[in-house]
């Protein structure tokens, strides 16, 4: 007889499975960073964490009407005051970041009289899921975008758009202006990231993967892995 617990959601997706022993994830270190210091990775990051980011609730927009969310250069998010060229968009409103860690680490003992479900691995010590001591995230969208392509995600109206985070590990945005001397080089634009159209009547997110050099857009098979998650709290 097998022991343990399996829980499937209404769509047949596994929410818990002690046979697999994969810990669920928890949302930690939610922080608002000012334009002057949008550090990448954010404070508290350790190897294995996913880095999440979203626009602040009252953002500033590009001329295209969106907030770009991605890693920039010089260990800053794109748009930070200290993230290289002044030709880049300046996200003066700042950014909200968070870390997605697994639920098997950094867990304190339950408080006296605490209620809720905790599920441990068969070793009795590795926590796979805790309903009350940590909060996971809901996966909204996941996939890959090949170079030269984009994907649009429109969340259901029931969700609070200001609680949608983009996973920015592997993202990158930068603009390099053209150089005329001593060697001619064309302007280059890298976009592997997210455009949050927060102010649209129906807000949405566009995942972009583009490399433009000298006005020409490259195509290919390179992959940008994207994920959008939701903070349910």
């Amino acid at each position: 007889m097998a022991y343990g617990m399996q829980i499937f959601n209404a769509d047949g997706r596994k929410q818990l499975d002690t046979n697999e022993s994969y810990p669920n994830t928890q949302l930690k270190n939610v922080t608002t960073s000012a334009y002057s210091a949008m550090a990448y990775p954010p404070s508290g990051y350790v190897a294995g964490d996913l880095i999440l980011a979203r626009p602040v609730n009252s953002p500033v927009y590009t001329s295209g009407g969106y907030v770009p969310i991605a890693m920039g250069t010089l260990n800053r998010f794109y748009g930070s005051q200290t993230s290289t060229s002044s030709s880049n968009f300046q996200n003066t409103a700042g950014i909200v970041t968070a870390l997605l860690k697994n639920q098997s680490v950094g867990v304190g003992s339950p408080s006296s009289g605490e209620y809720g479900l905790d599920v441990y691995d068969t070793n009795g010590s590795t926590l796979l899921f805790s309903a009350t001591r940590m909060t996971g995230v809901r996966l909204l969208a996941v996939g890959t975008v090949t170079i030269g392509s984009s994907v649009t995600y429109t969340p259901p109206a029931s969700l609070d758009f200001n609680k949608i985070y983009a996973v920015v590990n592997g993202s990158l945005m930068n603009y390099i202006p053209p150089i005329g001397f001593p060697v001619n080089s064309a302007a280059q634009t890298f976009t592997l990231g997210y455009h949050f159209f927060s102010s649209a009547s129906t807000p949405y997110v566009v995942v972009e993967h583009k490399y433009i050099s000298g006005g020409g857009s490259a195509t290919g098979t390179g992959t940008f892995t994207y994920q959008l998650v939701y903070d349910p709290t």
Partner: protein
Amino acid sequence: MAYGLEVFNSAGTKRIVGNTDRLLRLVTHGTVTVNRNSYVDIAITGMANDDSWTVGLNIALFSGFVTDWYYTKSTNNLRIGYNTSASTPASQSIPFYVFRS
């Protein structure tokens, strides 16, 4: 009859897990070194090429050829590769993350 797990906060006012939610579960993570125009195979028990498996790659910071990374999911295997004909580094290290949902 609906299946699934529903969890509410201690006040009973906020549902923090719903019975239709897909939850991210961390399977493994690590770092591999991949040679230019080559790939590395990583054994992942149970992996399949379906949408319950999710992979994240943490590409190299600011290279003009960052878009040449790719991954391929297959039975019990994850392949991470790096294709370019340009003069990029002969090899690069890339952190990866494997999730199920």
